[in-house]
Symmetry: C2
Subunit: 428 residues, 2 copies
C-alpha cells in the first residue's frame, strides 16, 4: 500500500457519502495528505435512490465517480477498498488489501439496512442503501408484473401484483408512492392479461403515523396524499415474520410478489469493533466536537454518529447532518494543523443548522417544512424538484435527471424500466 | 400459458432484436394474434452497446421496454420468457414456463458470442451481446485501473493497465478505440499513482486487416486512426489460449488486466436443435423468401439466418439486414393471410438494400461507405453520430444520448464510470 511521504500528517477519510465527501471538498488539502477510502468507486446521491428503484432514473444519473469529484484537490488520494478493521490504538486501518496508517481519522461510513436481529429477512425483503440495491428492487418489482402477465391462476396473479413496503419513513413513503404511480399511470397500458391499476401497494408502519420526524399536520397530509394514490397504509402494524413472497402483519400472513424493507437503518457494523460507546443502533456517541471519546484525532460524522448538539437538538440522520458534520470537522482539523492542536473540550461545539425537511410522495404530491412554515401538495413538490436538481453532483447528472423528469411528466413514461441481470441472479 | 382465441391464426415471434421488432411493428396485427417472446424485457440498440461497456452511456439510455414500444399494437402480446425448444413438427415452442402453439413462426433470436469451441475462455474474456455483458465489461475495465492504483509492484501495475481486445471487426475496433480514448483523455486526470496515458490497448486480429467487410482503403484508414489513438494493432495474429489475466498470441503469453472477446459471433444455439440445414456458425440456410426449408410458415431473419439474396449478395449480419428481413416477412405473411397462402417458390425473393456501412473509432474518427462513396475521419464521424441518434428508439433515449455526447465532447468526461456489483460478482 502506498503511504504518504514524511512531513505532512496523514488524514484518512472512511466513506465518500455526504459526510466524507464534504470533508474532502472543504479541507484545505495543502495542510496534509488526505486519503479517501470507499468500497464503491462512486458517490451516490441517496435522496434519489428510490427513483432508480422505481425505474425513473438510470443508476449513473445519480452517481459520480469519487475520483472525478475530487480530481482537483492536491495531496488527495482516492482508494477503492473495503474497510476490514479500525485499530484506534495503533492508528491503523486494515483494508481488503493492505493497510493504512493515519494521524487523523474521519469515520463517515454511513448506515446500513438493519433487520432488528432478523437478518434472514434480507433475501426476501431487500433494503435500499446502494445502487446495486436499487437495481435489485427495480428488477424484483418489474419481474413480478412480468410473471403476473404469464400467470393464469387469478389468485396467484393477485399475489404477484401485491407490493409491501415495510417502514413509513421518507424512503418507505417515497417507494410506496412511486410504486403506486408506476402501476396506475405508466404500466397499465403495457400489459394484456393483467391490469396494473388493480395492483395493491401496502405501506406498513409500526407507529401511529407515517413520517414521524415531521410535524403531525404534515404526516396527516402525507397520509392523505398516499391514500389518494391508492396506497393502503397500515399504521400501528408490526411485521412479525417475512418469508419468500410472504409477510406476516401482526401475525396475519399476506402473500406479495414484491417486498421491500425500508424500516431500519443502523450504523455501519464497523463501529461495533471500535471499543467505543455506541447506542443500540450502533451509532458512536461522539463528543460535542464530533470527536470519538478518548481519541481526539478521530472523528465520526453522518449516520454512524449520534449527538445532541450545542442547541440541544439531536442531529438527524439526513444528508444535511452529514454534510454539516464533514464541513465542521474539516475546519476543526485545519485549525489544529495551522494553529496547534487543542484538547476536545477547548474546541467549538457542533451546532446543526436545520434548513428544513421534505419528502415526496408522487406527481404534485409532497410535504415540506422550513422552520415554522409547512407546505404540502404542489408547492412542496416543486420545491422538492428544484432542490434535488440543484444539489445533485455533476452537471451531466443534473441535465440528465432534468430531462428524464420533464419527459416523465409529459409522457407518463419512465425511462429506466430495464430488468438487468434477470437470468443470473433473479429470484424465483 | 395464455393461448390466443380461436379464429385468428397465431404468429409467434421469437426475439425482439432488430429483426423481430421490425416484424412486430410492420405486421398489420388485425390479421392475426401475435405473440412476441424475448428473455429480456427490453430491446437493446446494439450499435451503441460498446458505449455502455466503455462508460459513455448508461444501460437504460440504449434500451427500451419491449412492451412500451409495442403498446399500441392490437392483438399483440409480449412475453418475457426464455425459449427452451422449438418443435417444428408439432408447431409448438417450449418456454421456461409453459409452451406456445403457433401457426406462423418468425425466428429472430439473433447471435451469441462464439469461442470457436473454447467456451472455457468466456470467464476470462467476456463478449459483448447484452446489457449485462456491457456492464460487466465496464466493471472489469474500471476495476483494473482501481487495482493498478493500489498496486506497488510496477510490473503488475503495467499488467493491470493492459487491455486486450480480440477481434478486429466493428465491435472490436469500437471497443479498442474507446478504451484508448478513455484512458488517454478521461482517466488520466483522476489517478495519483498511475498514469492511464501509459495504458496499453491491444487489438488482435487474425486476418491481414481490420474491418474486413469494408473496402481495403477504409480498413487502411481505420488502422491509421486506431494507431493515432495509441492502440497497438496486431494483424495476422492468432489467439492460441486465454487464461485468467493472460492471453497467448501465436503462442506467446501476454499478461493483461482486461481481456475482451469480440472475435466470434454464432447463431443462437437454438438453431442446432431444429433439424434443419445450418452453416458452421449455426445459421439457418433459409430459402429466398426467408422461410425455413420444408416449413413454409416458419421464417428466420437476422443474425441466425444465412442467405445469398436475389441480387447475389450475402445478406450481412447487421441491423439493416435483420430489419429489412423482418419487414419483408411481415409483408409476406400479411399477403398470405389476406390473399391466400402461396408456395415458397411462388413468393417474392428477399433483396437486401445496402444503405451503407459505418464504424466509429473515436472522437472525430470513423469510416463510412455509402454506395461507391468512402468517407473517413471527421465527416464519417459526424454522419455516424447523426444516424445513431436518429435510429435510436425512444425520444427520451435520443435526448439522453445526445446530452451525454455533447457533455463528453466538451468536458472530456464520461458519465457512466460507475462500477456496479463490484462486491457480489467481481472477478479476482
Amino acid at each position: 500500500m502506498n503511504q504518504p511521504p514524511q512531513g505532512l500528517p496523514h488524514i484518512v477519510v472512511l466513506g465518500a457519502g455526504f459526510g466524507g465527501l464534504m470533508f474532502a471538498k472543504d479541507f484545505p488539502s495543502h495542510l496534509a495528505k488526505v486519503t479517501v477510502v470507499d468500497r464503491q468507486n462512486h458517490h451516490v446521491f441517496q435522496p434519489l435512490l428510490y427513483q432508480v428503484a422505481t425505474a425513473g432514473l438510470a443508476a449513473p444519473d445519480i452517481a459520480q465517480p469519487i475520483r472525478s469529484i475530487l480530481r482537483d484537490k492536491p495531496n488527495l488520494t482516492v482508494l477503492m477498498a473495503g474497510v476490514r478493521r479500525i485499530d484506534l490504538a495503533a492508528r491503523r486501518i486494515e483494508l481488503d488489501h493492505g493497510s493504512l496508517d493515519f494521524d487523523y481519522l474521519v469515520i463517515a461510513l454511513g448506515g446500513q439496512t438493519s433487520y432488528f436481529g432478523h437478518d434472514e429477512w434480507e433475501w426476501f425483503a431487500p433494503g435500499l442503501k446502494t445502487l446495486d440495491d436499487a437495481v435489485r428492487l427495480r428488477r424484483n418489482m418489474l419481474l413480478a408484473y412480468e410473471r403476473a402477465e404469464m400467470e393464469t391462476d387469478p389468485k396467484k396473479r393477485e399475489e404477484l401484483m401485491t407490493s409491501v413496503v415495510v417502514g413509513g419513513g421518507p424512503t418507505g413513503v417515497e417507494l410506496a408512492g412511486s410504486f403506486a404511480e408506476l402501476a396506475r399511470t405508466v404500466l397499465y397500458r403495457d400489459f394484456d392479461h393483467i391490469d396494473p391499476r388493480q395492483a395493491r401497494i401496502l405501506l406498513v408502519e409500526g407507529a401511529p403515523r407515517v413520517l414521524g420526524t415531521f410535524p403531525a399536520d404534515l404526516s396527516e397530509s402525507a397520509l392523505r396524499q398516499l391514500r389518494k394514490l391508492g396506497v393502503e397504509v397500515r399504521l400501528n402494524t408490526k411485521v412479525t415474520a417475512i418469508r419468500e413472497h410472504e409477510v406476516e402483519l401482526d401475525g396475519v400472513p399476506l402473500r406479495a410478489g414484491n417486498i421491500v424493507w425500508a424500516a431500519g437503518v443502523g450504523a455501519s457494523s464497523v463501529t461495533r469493533s471500535l471499543g467505543v460507546d455506541t447506542d443500540r443502533a450502533g451509532r458512536i456517541k461522539v463528543r460535542p466536537d464530533l470527536s470519538v471519546p478518548g481519541h481526539p484525532k478521530v472523528f465520526a460524522v453522518g449516520d454512524l454518529a449520534i449527538l445532541t448538539d450545542a442547541k440541544g437538538q439531536v442531529v438527524p440522520g439526513v444528508a444535511q447532518g452529514a454534510m454539516q458534520g464533514g464541513a465542521f470537522v474539516a475546519k476543526l482539523i485545519a485549525h489544529d494543523l495551522r494553529v496547534g492542536a487543542r484538547r476536545p473540550e477547548d474546541r467549538p461545539a457542533f451546532a446543526y443548522w436545520d434548513k428544513g425537511n421534505m419528502a415526496t410522495i408522487g406527481r404534485s404530491k409532497a410535504i415540506a417544512q422550513i422552520g415554522r412554515l409547512h407546505f404540502s401538495g404542489l408547492a412542496a413538490w416543486v420545491m422538492w424538484l428544484a432542490l434535488h436538481i440543484v444539489f445533485l453532483v455533476g452537471l451531466r447528472n443534473r441535465v440528465s435527471v432534468f430531462v428524464n423528469w420533464i419527459h416523465s411528466y409529459f409522457t407518463y413514461k419512465r425511462g429506466a424500466r430495464i430488468i438487468m441481470n434477470a437470468e443470473t441472479i433473479s429470484r424465483k
